[in-house]
């Protein structure tokens, strides 16, 4: 009978409200705390994943390597929300969006300080870590 194992619930810190606490890719949170947004690449077959994942659906391997999401991506599309689900009301209004990096895409929010009139489909944006109240973290898109 060993000592009680502590549950690794780092993922609870992700986003305004997190619905997941335990995941095999919890190191993603450590990377956010260090200022980096990361995805995973399969160490066996090379397939790239964002959001990061622990298992490769192409070769069934679990030998994943982290990589940093860096440089500019292209804004594919976005929407500005006037209503929000429970727990997100204080954030309104805000924009959700998809950025295209070529061999992967990133779903997230556009930084709140980017005026809507400066947002246009196809523009270059970068993905950066954003610190939220209560030591919570997510990432947002800023003009590149």
């Amino acid at each position: 009978m060993g000592e009680k194992k502590e549950l690794d619930e780092r993922f609870k810190k992700f986003g305004t409200v997190s619905f997941t606490s335990v995941t095999k890719v919890n190191d993603f949170i450590d990377h956010l705390e260090a200022g980096r947004v990361t995805g995973t690449r399969c160490g066996d077959c090379g397939l790239t994943f964002f959001p990061p994942r622990a298992d490769c659906c192409q070769c069934l391997g679990s030998n994943m390597k982290w990589f940093e999401v860096s440089g500019p991506g292209k804004l594919v599309t976005y929407s500005r929300l006037e209503y929000a689900p429970t727990g997100f009301g204080d954030d309104l209004p805000y924009c959700i969006a998809v950025l295209d990096y070529g061999d992967f895409k990133v779903f997230g929010r556009i930084a709140g300080d980017v005026p809507e009139e400066e947002i246009s489909v196809g523009m270059a944006m970068k993905t950066v870590v954003s610190e939220l109240p209560n030591k919570r973290l997510n990432y947002v898109f800023q003009k590149a």
């Binding site: 409200v17 959001p51 594919v76 976005y78 006037e82 689900p85 727990g87 779903f107």
Partner: protein, 388 residues
């Protein structure tokens, strides 16, 4: 393979708040379908119940319904693909009959969205996406479809007025559908009047008028093999083609944002199985949870080339007098969208059209009809082709 038919269809009225329990609600659609098919519960070999479980308080409703509808001791089970659960139920019924396991199957769809409070609904809406990677950003269904609308507008020059025209059409036929929750006439002017609720922004570029609303409702489709169909039914409507496909849940995994890949794949399968093409379709019910969803359906189903869906609605070609009538029952935009009941309601409308029993919304002498039923934001695509 034997031929398989729909021999009975029914639905409850779709309403904002149903004044009864879920079993009573489901009974309404079931009763109408069984009476329509002129059979009894004893002749139903199995029942498939379709709903979105996050709105259900009752766990495992298939068991409750089997009891309430007199379907014991036949097998009953539950199937879910979000808003397309009803079409998935039909696919399952088809398989159960084609396999020889059963000869008559009831597909019972229901949703009592008012079963839970508005606050609970708001909470569940946030979980209608990838809860690990998308929901923490605060996502909602209208915003996802809005992202498709934005892309469609940017890529093809589709306008907000084109989308409003789709809602105006829905209102035209919603007025005729006594089972629809929203039966008011809708005009383009409502969308240009900033004071009007229709014009209120929800998730840019979509406005209130571009979105369907929650509702309570039930539907039922009775499916039978050729032998039973001939014995029970004077006007069997045959299942000619079935298509079903999936796409990534997280939008980051998608390549297309101006159409739904799963819908295109499902349509291709259904056309191939039926041996027909888009030009052979005489009437269609498409999943217009948002106006942009109907616009994309025109293109994903091949009624128009990508980017040319706007020409169909501008030319009124999707009205019942047009070259391809779409949603002559008013669509989800008029009926409301009780998730698990929606697919069965769409199937019912096409069956009534093909039997020439659609009353004021009857299109001219249809021979072949199509149902396009989507789960989530194109996560589940289902296309069904029916014929007389």
């Amino acid at each position: 393979m034997g031929k398989i038919a729909i021999i009975g269809v029914g639905q409850s009225a779709f309403v904002r708040r149903y004044p009864g329990s879920v079993r009573e609600l489901a009974f309404e659609g079931f009763k109408e379908a069984v009476q329509d098919a002129r059979i009894t519960a004893r002749e139903i070999g199995a029942s498939v119940v379709c709903s979105a479980p996050e709105y259900d308080k009752q766990r495992s409703p298939a068991g409750v319904f089997a009891e309430y509808m007199g379907l014991n001791p036949q097998p009953a089970f539950y199937v879910e693909t979000l808003c397309s659960s009803g079409s998935t139920g039909l696919r399952l019924a088809y398989s159960l009959i084609q396999s020889g396991l059963h000869d008559v199957v009831a597909v019972i769809g229901f949703q009592k969205m008012s079963e839970i409070s508005s606050a609970e609904i708001q909470e569940r809406m946030g979980r209608g996406a990838d809860i690990q990677w998308e929901s923490p950003f605060g996502t909602m269904m209208p915003a996802y479809y809005a992202m498709y609308a934005r892309r469609h507008i940017e890529k093809y020059g589709t306008t907000l007025e084109d989308l409003a025209l789709i809602r105006v059409k829905a209102g035209t036929y919603g007025q005729l559908n006594e089972k629809a929750a929203y039966r008011k006439k809708i005009t383009l002017e409502m969308f240009s009047d900033a004071e009007n609720r229709m014009a209120a922004p929800v998730a840019s570029p979509l406005r209130t008028g571009d979105c369907c609303a929650n509702a309570d409702g039930s539907s039922c489709v009775i499916v039978a093999g050729e032998e039973k169909a001939g014995a029970f039914c004077k006007k069997p409507i045959w299942i000619l083609g079935l298509g079903a496909a999936t796409d990534t849940l997280n939008l980051a995994g998608r390549d297309l944002f101006s159409g739904l890949t799963a819908a295109r794949q499902a349509a291709g399968q259904a056309y191939k199985m039926a041996g027909v093409g888009p030009k052979d379709i005489d009437v269609a019910e498409v999943h217009d949870c948002f106006t942009i969803a109907e616009m994309m359906a025109y293109e994903d189903l091949g009624f128009a080339k990508p980017g040319e869906g706007k020409d169909l609605i501008r030319g009124r070609e999707t009205y019942k007098e047009g070259c391809i009538p779409v949603n002559p029952d008013g669509g989800l935009l008029s009926k409301g969208h009780p998730i698990g009941a929606t697919g069965g309601s769409q199937i019912r409308s096409v069956v009534l059209q093909l039997r020439r029993e659609a009353g004021e919304s009857q299109v001219r002498e249809p021979e072949i009809g199509l149902i396009h039923n989507i789960g989530g934001v194109g996560v589940y695509g289902n296309v069904t082709i029916l014929g007389r």
